[in-house]
Symmetry: D5
């Protein structure tokens, strides 16, 4: 099942930069694992912001919740989830 | 260049249903032409709403404006455009 | 899978009351069919408003979209969908 | 009487994690006591957020206020309360 | 039980003034009946607007819903309901 | 003259609890003095929130400003003021 | 007593222009009478909008409500009222 | 003096298309006259919307108000005005 | 030229009260100098809030920007500026 | 390609003023380099606020993202980006 997810990252002033870089590296590794699995299907940056727009393809709602809340940068994120479905006009059978 | 576009369709009460079906058919034909061209790269329905989330891949801002404002259902749409760019962590070279 | 759905009904001034009562009767029949099926799991009225809060238990996002957009009163509704999941603290195994 | 309650939890950066885990354990115990009593009738997680949607069945407004404001995590919550009532179309006599 | 209710009245342009005056008279009669019953405990006008702020004292949520949605001007109102309870600092035992 | 006032109290994390209890006690004493004077005519709690809805009956705008801004908890409050007037349909001559 | 009032005028499409000019002339006459009385103390136009910002000096809330709701263009206005008081730093004893 | 102006055009359904094209032609002629005068200094389209962002360079507030409210399409516009001033870091003496 | 300015002052918790009183005294002195000059033409307090509504009469946008951003309390203010112009119905030639 | 960018700067209380002045100097130098390049085509201050409105002329979305997020003051900015295109009525061939 497909979900549209926006993640806005807010770095608090005074945050330890070394610790934050570690979390970013962990976030990148976790993202790439999920991308390889086909779960984190798309990711794009929003121009001018520390935000992304992503498409997830998951088994169910619970899997999506677990994936999102266990992201290394989750404590710094404002997350919004929108349920999607395939568009009937699409010519691509596997457009996910 | 990539853009995230949301389109919310508002059908006014009293709208002629025959005319509206004609516009929907024209919209579908135009969409599929743009999908084949690779310009209208993705489209998904928003669950429970007469709305879609789309990703466009265009030459420039002007092309996107012309594509959107010439859609058959454009007079009934509320359109929001967000500029995107490729995410540096993505493993997919052509993730568009 | 569980979803939280709010439906706000807006009756336009000048709406034909006979036609609207027919739609309300069709809506009620459809609701009760879905309630018996276990799909429309809960419904409550919002005090003082022509709105309800509902919980749906569906196979996937597409089924929810089809159910909602085919409701007889759908053209008069503003619908909002929120994906839910079971709460880990709940003592009720089948709390849906 | 039935009420729809949303609780959004905001954990401030710099919060002592040991203290917070203690509060979460106390919150869980209190929740399960109220769930057994039938007062906290339903709880669901909102996907991707540290939030829940709940249905309370209480004697009156004052009981609901006392229950909510004495929750261990209440100082970290943004709470919204909406009064509900039974829907006349419901086939379930005890749908609460 | 006490509830805070705001009612904003929107008169559509083109509304039949004779019919509207009839509804206003019916609304006034209904209001005064409920005021005598002690159910519609307080009403005040909001300065400069066609709105009121009211306090209702009802048996339960369902009674409030029935009272509000059967008001003669209800189809022209935007209604907001907030659950209240007695303030513990109040010196007035019957402050309702 | 009558005014509708909402007061939302925000207790900052890390606030000294002893000092805050002192302010709450001072707030209660001040409230009861104004209630006895007839100036702070009504107060109700908003269910589930650290907020109240109040009705003030004052000589003029300046008196209301002085009363509100000198409350012991004022530095922690978000205050909203709405001017009211008597409703012409009210049967209670002294409904204030 | 002083009040800050904003008035946004919305002219519905299809409004009879002759009738509207009559209402505008009546509005102007009424405004100038109130300006001479000292009640409508200031008026300014908001640049680029059919809106004004005004300062009223009235006996009490009820007088302001009666003045505003009896304006000829009131049915076309969105009105917002804010209670003001004299600023203690002002050097002008009669700055109203 | 410089002002940032956004103009959102809303064409009501049922608007006479011949009349609207006449207004658009008149709008274009008026715009080009003001552009030649140097008053309407810049105009850009907002991608995907019937909106523009403009920079005006006027003598004073009153001139801007008169220019905007006399535009042929003004009755169909939502206009927002923001006062600007030259940025001290700019290297362009005449950057307007 | 006339501008409507609202200033909302937010005093952060933990702000040094001696320093803040010094800034308030400096703000008052600066205000009174500008009031004598005729630049800060009107000021009123918003009832119940640490906010004022002011009318400025300045040479141009740049002068207003310099005046506002150099106020002693500016770092604690949320400022909103609206361009005004004289109302054509006003009987007062110098109504500013 | 043209983009409209607003930048609101928020200086946290307690920010080291020496460090902040260094960042402002670096920001100014970077701005002037981009202005000379023709990339940061226009900048204006918003009156009364620590904000600017800018027009960028870039190769593509990715270049704009890189320019904005590498600005020395970026960690203190709230940035909003809107895609623009040339207006067909404009008489200036190079109006950018």
């Amino acid at each position: 099942m497909l979900f549209h997810v926006t993640m806005d990252v807010h770095v608090p002033h005074g945050c330890d930069p070394v610790r934050f870089e570690q979390l970013k590296a962990a976030e990148k590794a976790r993202f790439q694992q999920l991308q390889r699995d086909g779960t984190w299907r798309h990711i794009w940056r929003v121009v001018g912001r520390y935000s992304n727009v992503s498409i997830f393809d998951v088994e169910d709602n619970a899997q999506l919740h677990d994936l999102l809340t266990s992201l290394p940068l989750y404590p710094f994120m404002e997350v919004k989830v929108t349920a999607l479905c395939r568009h009937p006009s699409s010519l691509h059978d596997d457009d996910r």
